[in-house]
């Protein structure tokens, strides 16, 4: 109990919790972590005086799960903590994106849209780019945009700048991919999971049907640092 509590507190204090859940979960995680530690410490420091009587009850109708009524399964609680410390699970990346590829879901209209300006390079979210393409793509025509995401490949060797979104936790992650078409002679093929910033223009007519990913014709591909929040 204290172990899990401590792990939760640690996750909330570092930014590691962002790999697993959304941003607003920070305080609930921290609070419940502290609470668990306090409860467990209380159990060790000051065992409730009524415990002997309580135990006596338990043995009368013991249903087979042993000491003090604590089921064996409870020990599984240490597992998430162990996994966190030993493997230190990374944020999700290309492995998941590639497995989930082939499905491009219709994107809901993003809450805040980037201000597009003629003749300038504008940073656009990958999901917003896909939404604009599904919207017909007119708003992207002739617009220089920059997309940031990690690199993933498909079976045919085409590569994508990808982002994952999470609604609640990493279990419901969904992949959004934009195919990168780099027509230049020295076209780079960055390694999997490398974070890149792709500057270029929308290839008209791609990704409008809501089932295939749109394509960006790249003018420049730069390797960048992984952002603090990797999910969109």
């Amino acid at each position: 109990m204290a172990f899990l509590g401590a792990v939760l507190v640690r996750l909330a204090f570092t930014d590691a919790y962002l790999r697993y859940v959304t941003e607003w979960m920070k305080w609930p995680i921290l609070l419940s972590g502290v609470l668990l530690v306090v409860l467990a410490v209380g159990l060790v420091v000051a065992p409730p005086s009524s415990h002997d009587g309580h135990d006596g009850h338990d043995h009368a109708d013991d249903d087979g799960h042993g000491h003090g009524g604590l089921p064996l399964v409870t020990w599984l609680l240490v597992l998430p903590g162990l996994v966190t410390f030993v493997i230190s699970p990374p944020q999700l990346g290309s492995y998941l994106a590639e497995r989930r590829s082939g499905e491009t879901a219709p994107v809901a209209k993003p809450a805040d849209l980037a201000q597009l300006e003629e003749g300038e390079v504008v940073d656009v979210d990958v999901t917003e780019f896909i939404w604009r393409a599904q919207d017909g793509g007119e708003t992207l025509d002739g617009q220089q945009v920059a997309l940031t995401g990690f690199v993933s490949y498909d079976r045919d060797g085409a590569w994508y700048v990808s982002r994952l979104t999470i609604g609640c936790c990493a279990a419901d992650a969904m992949a959004y991919q934009v195919e990168v078409d780099d027509p230049s002679d020295d076209a780079v093929r960055p390694p999997r999971d490398q974070w890149v910033k792709v500057t270029g223009t929308y290839a008209s007519g791609t990704g409008t049907d809501g089932t295939t990913p749109p394509t960006i014709t790249a003018a420049e591909v730069v390797e960048v640092e992984e952002p603090r929040q990797t999910y969109e």
Partner: protein, 334 residues
């Protein structure tokens, strides 16, 4: 980590079902130490993207659910230790047949994930609320609370009928199962592992005891469910699910089964449902109705709380009811 209560006599009591108090704690402590020390050698063996993905999803489910479970445990402790009989009797109608729909609608009031609902339902039963009423609440709360309704509306823009259909089908499932439990009252092999409460203990002691007890009992099963759900999520490719998208009946059944296995939280499953573009609306509805009512995580927690024999009957009944109700409502509204 918990330690055995101080002052318990050693194994001498001679009850055959009782495990010796030594052992569990020490064994686990040694195991943890071994893994932490040996981590350096173990990690390279585990360095595979699928395993990394599995562990991320596994930890994510646990991290995500724990605050909700703690919230549920706290609420359940409030119900157990602080709510007086009088208040409880006022809130819950005396006639259980009537109490079932009331409990269903009351589910709107608990905006949380499904893990919070299990300890709350348990503590309601402990306080003498009819099991049928408490279980209806357990099924309804995660499915029809405002947070879920809003996220469904966002995930299905311009389809208000879909949101309505989800609400109706989930409520229908909860009430139908509630009445089923009522009809079988007394014949359901329900154990209450809620533990016994010391009647002499002060309110504060009772509160702390309940929180500790409920959390320790529920959390292990939550972890077990998370292990299963993360495995399905990582190792079963989506294409397997997509192959049956064309068939009407098979599509509904597949998405219902998928919802049971992946154990998503009810606030975000609508976005995942929206991504099954190839499936019929009714199949998506089945996904959204089954998920919050029953999934591996919940089944595991309910088996822990109310006994395996109970879960063996309760889980299939909920699944069938949810699928039938989703199909009917989908056929009617969508």
């Amino acid at each position: 980590m918990s330690t055995p209560p101080v002052g318990t006599p050693p194994v001498s009591s001679g009850t055959p079902t009782r495990r010796p108090p030594v052992g569990q704690v020490e064994l686990v402590a040694i195991a943890i130490l071994a893994v932490l020390l040996g981590g350096r050698w173990i990690v390279p063996l585990l360095d595979h993207p699928s395993l990394a993905t599995w562990s991320t999803i596994f930890v994510a489910i646990v991290v995500q659910s724990t605050p909700f479970l703690v919230m549920g445990v706290l609420l359940s402790a409030v119900i157990t230790a602080l709510l007086s009989e009088k208040v409880l009797r006022k809130v819950v109608p005396r006639n259980p047949a009537l109490g079932v729909p009331v409990a269903g609608v009351a589910g709107i009031g608990l905006p949380g994930c499904e893990c919070a609902a299990v300890p709350i339902a348990g503590s309601l039963i402990r306080r003498g609320v009819a099991p049928a009423v408490a279980l209806t609440f357990l099924l309804a709360a995660p499915a029809i609370n405002p947070a879920v309704i809003v996220s469904t509306a966002v995930a299905f823009p311009g389809e208000p009928m879909f949101v309505l259909a989800r609400f109706v089908a989930s409520l229908l499932t909860a009430v139908a199962v509630g009445w089923w439990v009522l009809a079988r009252a007394g014949r359901l092999p329900m154990l209450d592992r809620g533990g016994t409460l010391d009647p002499d203990a002060s309110k504060r002691d009772r509160f702390v005891q309940t929180v500790r007890h409920d959390f320790l009992h529920a959390s292990g099963f939550l972890v077990l469910g998370a292990i299963l759900a993360a495995s399905i999520n990582t190792f079963v490719p989506r294409e397997v699910v997509d192959t049956v998208a064309g068939q009407a009946v098979l599509g509904v059944l597949t998405l219902a089964l998928f919802a049971f296995l992946v154990a998503l939280c009810s606030e975000s499953d609508a976005f995942v449902a929206a991504s099954f573009t190839a499936f019929s609306p009714t199949a998506k509805l089945a996904f959204l109705v089954v998920g919050p009512a029953m999934d591996v995580k919940l089944a595991s927690m309910e088996a822990g709380r109310f006994g395996t024999a109970f879960a063996r009957q309760f889980v299939p009944v909920v699944l069938v009811t949810a699928v039938v109700s989703a199909s009917l409502v989908g056929w009617w509204l969508l």
